[in-house]
């Protein structure tokens, strides 16, 4: 959630900057208009135009810094007052109209202004359905295999990463945490396949902070590489529930709409067993927003017919996809299905890939 807060703050500061710009812009036309008036007067009264004083001033023209600051603050206060008054007025009007009031305008966000992505999956599309029906995850979705996950880390993990692995293992049923022991992933993978693991999950660590996640579906791929950020372990959470039980959780996948998003969603879905134990009342959520995938783990309770209470169990973290590779982990000779190229792809803030 921390990540979401930051853009807002930035937005605010930007808005302020914009206000400044507006201010300058607004002043200029006024000046011009009044100057014109002055010119007219001068022509009528036959006063030489050199004597006309600048009738208005813009705050930025004040030379004294303190004075300028003071005037600007004053200007801002006035403006704020105006805005508040306007807001109040509008609210009054709305209240007066009651039910007949026009619907409120939807605020513009970069998500609802999203650039149309032509790969958005149409659920009735035969070709995509066939492609998904025969891909590497089809064995899981046809209920032929049960997930079994191996969790390991980069070599010699330190405190936080170790605990993160342990906590992930409590979220994912049938997960086994192993110490890496300096083994190469390409040598680990055949052993995993021989022992019927369906996933290999490697958490990378940098300066004692988990920062990367390689999720490799076995036996024949694909492999996804994520950036991990904002990891919050159970101990660091406020208002946390009791430790999770061993029931297999329900899974919620939000907003995975494009073709690439579908592949990633299927990758996450296949981590958990088919039939969740509803007795456990536990939910794992992968929520995609602006290409960041937020993971949360909750316990819910139905208080009555209308109200539901939720309690976060942790851990929470944020993922961002870096690449999706066909086949099992092979960063040198593997073929990439999608690679995030920052300078080529991030040209528009309103373009999303998942």
């Amino acid at each position: 959630m921390d990540v979401e807060v930051q853009p807002e703050l930035q937005d605010k500061s930007k808005k302020q900057k914009k206000k400044m710009k507006h201010l300058k812009k607004r002043d200029k036309p006024k000046e011009q208009a009044i100057e014109k008036d002055v010119v007219k007067e001068s022509t009528t009264a036959d006063i030489p135009p050199e004597l006309a004083f600048p009738p208005t001033f813009s705050v930025s023209e004040i030379k004294n810094k303190q004075r300028r600051h003071f005037m600007f603050m004053k200007y801002k206060q006035e403006k704020r007052k105006e805005q508040l008054a306007l807001k109040k007025k509008r609210k009054k009007e709305r209240d007066a109209l009651g039910d007949k009031a026009p619907p409120k305008a939807v605020p513009k966000t970069i998500e609802n202004q999203r650039v149309y992505d032509e790969t958005t999956v149409d659920p009735e599309d035969e070709e995509v359905a066939f492609d998904e029906g025969t891909d590497e995850f089809s064995a899981y979705f046809n209920k032929l295999t049960n997930p079994k996950v191996l969790i390991t880390t980069s070599d010699r993990p330190r405190g936080r990463t170790v605990r993160f692995c342990e906590q992930l293992a409590t979220v994912i049923p049938d997960a086994h945490v192993y110490y890496r022991r300096g083994l190469a992933l390409k040598k680990v993978i055949p052993q995993c396949i021989a022992r019927d693991f369906t996933y290999l999950m490697v958490i990378n660590e940098d300066r004692k902070v988990p920062n990367g996640l390689v999720l490799c579906h076995l036996p024949d791929g694909p492999t996804a590489h994520f950036k991990v950020s904002s990891v919050r372990l159970r101990k660091e959470m406020k208002r946390r529930g009791k430790d999770p039980t061993e029931h297999s959780p329900e899974v919620i996948l939000n907003n995975f709409t494009t073709r690439l998003g579908h592949s990633i969603g299927r990758l996450f879905a296949a981590l958990f067993p088919h039939d969740p134990h509803f007795v456990g009342r536990q939910v794992a959520t992968f929520h995609n927003q602006r290409d960041f995938i937020f993971f949360r783990f909750h316990r819910y309770i139905f208080k009555n017919e209308k109200r539901v209470g939720i309690q976060e169990l942790g851990p929470r973290f944020t993922l961002k996809l870096r690449s999706l590779q066909k086949g099992t982990f092979d960063s040198k000779f593997g073929e990439y299905e999608w690679v995030h190229k920052r300078h080529e792809m991030d040209s528009s803030r309103r373009k999303f890939h998942l």
Partner: protein, 378 residues
């Protein structure tokens, strides 16, 4: 079906076994297959033209079948079983005067004569990644692959290769350098052959010279090069790698002339137009992209829903629709669902507009400055 296939100019083979036709002038894409009988073992691994007039497309499927698709009728007219798929997928397909040449991953090159059952077989090595035909001498093919050097074969004398490349010298530790040829092409109007390898090298061999080692070696990027194509202008080559980086390399000194941007995933198929400065690329990111080689701008971008394996361009201009076909079609296809796919194609022009604006702004700025100067002079 016939109408649809006649307006299509670019042909793409997909991993799901669908042959796709794309019409660039109409901005539409069509699937040519029966949707109820799809299966992964029909994966299209190679495409080539069946005749000189380009009315037949030969489709090599990974189960060993070579199907003939008629672009006039819009249906598969013939299917021929060339091998049974146990030797691996097709890595090359070529047509000579009355016979069909196929090559599979195990290194078996077979020549299937029209109307007779005897097959000429050549063993080209253990794992062959690509076989290509010499466009000027159509009975010559070249093969190469992993730990298998480049070999040029004369199909009329299939016993020994005309030319066998020699591996480069051992490295500074005196260890053998691994060979891994991924794609190759004959340079027209010379006997030279250009290859690209899985160890990100581009090499030029010259069979006419006594040297059997490459006469030029260039490195590009740090990921395996998967595809290669020769543009119409001589002296350069277009290569693509597994991360979707495509570059035009100069073959005189081996420098990068420029990169083609926009690809998101591994390049599987790359083909240059035989006369125009156009290059079509397709790959695992499910897009067909057509770039201009002169200004390196993206001309067309088409989402085709499946992972794509190979692309085939016609020798005519792909952006011009053949005349006399399209009168009725326009009415029919206005309600087609494919239109949304093409909305994105317009976006390519945006940048130029912006630039135009900037230039205008610059011009204005310049004018202002000149005025000022004048004022000063006065």
């Amino acid at each position: 079906m016939g109408d649809k296939s006649q307006i299509c100019s670019v042909w793409v083979g997909s991993e799901t076994g669908i042959l796709k036709g794309v019409s660039l002038s109409k901005k539409q894409a069509f699937n040519f297959c029966e949707m109820n009988s799809l299966s992964r073992d029909q994966e299209v691994s190679v495409l080539c033209w069946g005749d000189a007039h380009e009315t037949e497309v030969l489709v090599g499927c990974s189960n060993g079948a070579v199907k003939t698709f008629s672009t006039e009728k819009g249906i598969f007219t013939e299917s021929r079983q060339c091998g049974d798929g146990t030797n691996g997928k097709f890595t090359g397909l070529a047509v000579t005067d009355s016979s069909l040449v196929t090559c599979v991953e195990s290194g078996l090159v077979q020549v299937w004569k029209e109307g007779s059952t005897d097959i000429v077989e050549i063993n080209a090595g253990n794992s062959v990644c690509r076989m290509r035909q010499n466009a000027s001498q159509r009975h010559q093919v070249a093969t190469g692959g992993k730990e298998t050097p480049l070999k040029v074969w004369d199909l009329e004398r299939p016993d020994t290769p005309i030319f066998t490349a020699k591996n480069v010298r051992n490295d500074w530790l005196d260890l053998q350098v691994h060979e891994w040829l991924r794609d190759l092409a004959f340079i027209p109007d010379s006997e030279k052959i250009v290859t690209c390898t899985g160890h990100h090298q581009v090499r030029v061999y010259d069979p006419s010279s006594p040297q059997r080692r490459p006469v030029l070696e260039v490195q590009f990027g740090e990921y395996p090069l998967t595809a290669l194509s020769l543009p119409s202008s001589p002296g350069s080559v277009v290569v693509g790698n597994t991360q979707g980086q495509v570059a035009i390399l100069d073959l005189r000194k081996g420098l990068v002339r420029g990169c083609l941007k926009g690809l998101a995933g591994s390049v599987r198929g790359l083909q240059c137009h035989p006369s125009l400065p156009l290059v079509a690329s397709c790959g695992l990111d499910r897009f067909l992209r057509i770039h201009n080689l002169e200004d390196r701008k993206l001309q067309h971008k088409v989402y085709l829903k499946s992972r794509l394996n190979c692309v085939l361009l016609p020798s005519r201009d792909p952006e011009v629709c053949p005349a006399g076909v399209d009168t009725e079609l326009e009415v029919k296809e206005d309600d087609g669902p494919g239109d949304e796919v093409w909305d994105t194609m317009e976006t390519v022009t945006e940048k130029t507009k912006k630039r135009g604006l900037e230039e205008k702004a610059d011009c204005v700025g310049k004018k202002m400055s000149t005025k000022k100067r004048k004022a000063v002079k006065k």
